[in-house]
Amino acid sequence: MEVADGTPLKKSLARSLRKEKLRALALIAPLLIFVLVTFVLPIGTMLTRSIDNSIVEEILPRTVLALEDWNEKGDELPNEMVFRSFVEDFQDAIADKNHTKIGSRLNYEVSGMSSLFRKSARKVKKWDLTDNAPIKQKLIEVNKAWGDVETWAVIKTHSVALTNGYFLNAVDMQRTPFGAQAQPENKQVLVKLFIRTLKMSLIITGMCILLGYPVAWLLANLSNRTSNLLLILVLLPFWTSLLVRTSAWKVMLQNQGVINDLLVWIGLITDDSRLEIINNQFGTIVAMTHILLPFMILPMYSVMKTIPPSYLRAAKSLGATNWTAFWRVYFPQSVPGIGAGSILVFILAIGYYITPEIVGGTDGIFISNRIAYHISSSLNWGLASALGAILLGVVLILYWVYDKIVGIDNVKLG
């Protein structure tokens, strides 16, 4: 096809649309740049930390090279050459004040490494290496851990620039000379934490559905005036600080709190058998259900609002009881709302931090609290990134599964 002046129709059409496309692009450009700079970039760099391990190679380049020929699976110590390269690297590191960094990096894998590096540094700093005297024995005399095959095995195992070590740690395993192995029993906490996070998020989502559905139904079936008023009540929590709401639950649920006092006062429980309803999973579930409830109600409401009452009437006129009419006709049409609300609540819950931190105690915390711990306390950012990446992966997989089962087209957010 050609237009009047002979240019092909497609080309002509593309030209006429180009201006519009450019304009559209210009309109979204500020947001696009903002999202790139403040979201994609930081998350991207954070995620690369989960596999980035170049620090060992950078600080101990000669040692890493020399260790290549050494068999870390045997029980023989590395040779003199390795020890000499190490001390050279170590002295450079001390001069650059990098030796503590490498110490803490290796300390993630085997505790004690950090103090080994710090203590040894004080002595090794002053050594003169020009006389070619044997170093191996001298270093072992400084700290007998240097005479331990395991110390060198750890250095060699964790000297690769890109490591799977953090991910193995994140699923309660470790990188050893003999491949990936399970962590000792007493250190296996993260998988349990992942499972608990998923389980509790599911419970919270379920509670939100149960509590939110009738409210959404009521909102959708009342007159506009009343429903707007009630909607404000639903939204009210949004205008209160999250911290305030969570702390309020602390006041309500604690041992000497409002609920326990009330139960003691009406005599349902005795004073010495007050209920443990905070600093455990129960407290987290109650507080988070309350906080996430609006995210369930709003999408459900917006879907239910579009279901005309004539469907229920039609079902009843056809002979269906109230329950059958609801279950066979109304409920299936409200499923997209439940789906949207569930996705929203579940994804928010799985990454929730503040509420479990405050009311969760030890057995009510989530994986995100562990991530925060590694970011700000243990400073093991690699592990934190690996945990974050796994969390992201789990959410994406669940999203995919959800799409397969329910269908994402069935989700209406408004």
Binding site: S310, Y311, R313, A315, S317, L318, G319, T321, A325, Q333
Partner: protein, 373 residues
């Protein structure tokens, strides 16, 4: 109220299939939407409730279906009061304004639904669904979703669904409102054909007077919560009981005036323009009372030789002449009325008038109805 026909409560022998007995309905406790409704519908009748929006017709239908409760009075179905029977036990079929076909079910599932809730066996259900689909000529559409059908097709399915469980009474709430004119006319015919073939009683609500006239056995004209007239379509058109009905049904000319003299069968009305007109006294009680005389546009006679003894002759000025194909429509100013319409058939010897021209026409006494002011 003059020679008003006893149109309400036609049947005093109490064998009405549906009976509204002194039914009143209020939503807000301050005003009545339905005021003292008495209505008997015999079995097999096609009754239309016609009226402007807000006249209470849909409320009546909803009370009959059970979705609204009567504030006062009783509704009887086959002699039994149904005031306290929930909608799903009334066994009344209903076609809704927007069809209300369940979007998450196929056409066949929609039709099967009323049978399933009646615990009917699978093979019996399938047979009935098939028969119902064939009845509305939609046999091949069982597997489709409602969204995949055109408006007319959805309408047929809604009809089939309301009929599939063989109710004796079917209610229809403006079922053709969303269709275009041609389809609507076709469906009007289909619905009346089906209703008569199946022998069901139909209560049909519409605000479209053509629909009401062409489909119904009787029409109840609603206004302001009251039935203004309940009569056969031809009676309604030719013998309206009051000004509202005259205005609402078909096209109508209104001439205002005062009653000069009144006998049992004739009222002489002095029109505001000064002319005197002999009328049928319908809704006038006293001499000197204001009245509106209603005349159908096609009843004004341009050929004065065709007039009867009691006719009056008027002279007016042509304001406008519109050629409409099958008819001519002439707007005339006469007796203080600027939009008196005369419709004349387009026949070879019919006069074509031009604006400004004076014209003489006659009105037979039986075509002039003196109604309430």
């Amino acid at each position: 109220m003059g020679t008003r026909e006893p149109s309400l409560a036609l049947d005093e022998t109490n064998n009405a299939f549906v009976r509204f007995d002194r039914v009143q309905k209020s939503y807000d406790g301050e005003s009545l939407v339905v005021k003292d409704l008495n209505l008997d519908i015999p079995k097999g009748e096609f009754l239309t409730m016609l009226g402007p929006s807000g006249s209470g017709k849909t409320t009546c239908l909803m009370m009959l279906a059970g979705f609204e409760t009567a504030t006062h009075g009783e509704i009887l179905l086959d002699g039994v009061s149904i005031n306290n029977i929930p909608p799903h036990k009334r066994g009344i079929g209903m076609v809704f304004q927007n069809y209300a076909l369940f979007p998450h079910m196929t056409v066949a599932e929609n039709l099967s639904f009323p049978l399933e809730v009646r615990n009917m066996g699978k093979s019996e259900r399938e047979a009935k669904v098939k028969r119902a689909l064939d009845m509305v000529e939609m046999g091949d559409f069982g597997g489709r979703r409602p969204a995949q059908l055109s408006g007319g097709q959805q309408q047929r399915i809604a009809l089939a669904r309301a009929l599939v469980f063989e109710p004796e009474l079917v209610l229809m709430d403006e079922p053709l409102g969303a269709l275009d004119k041609q389809l609507r006319e076709k469906m009007q015919f289909e619905i009346t054909r089906l209703a008569h073939n199946l022998g069901i009683t139909v209560v049909y609500v519409t605000h479209d007077q053509t629909e009401a006239l062409t489909m119904s056995d009787r029409v109840a004209v609603f206004n302001d919560g009251v039935i203004q007239q309940l009569a056969r379509p031809d009676m309604l058109y030719e013998r309206p009981d009051n000004s509202f009905v005259a205005q609402f049904i078909g096209e109508n000319n209104t001439l205002e005036g005062t009653v000069k003299s009144l006998t049992d069968d004739t009222a002489v009305v002095e029109l505001d323009g000064g002319l005197q007109l002999q009328c049928e006294p319908i809704n006038v009680d006293n001499v000197g009372q204001r009245t509106r005389v209603s005349v159908r546009p096609e009843r004004a006679e341009l050929n004065l030789n065709n007039l009867s003894q009691d006719a009056c002759t008027l002279t007016g000025t042509v304001q406008e002449f519109i050629y409409m194909g099958d008819i001519f429509r002439t707007r005339i100013s006469v007796a203080g009325c600027d939009d008196f319409i005369i419709k004349t058939p387009n026949s070879p010897n019919q006069k074509r008038l031009s604006p400004g021209q004076n014209v003489k026409f006659g009105l037979n006494k039986k075509d002039c109805r003196a109604l309430d002011p």
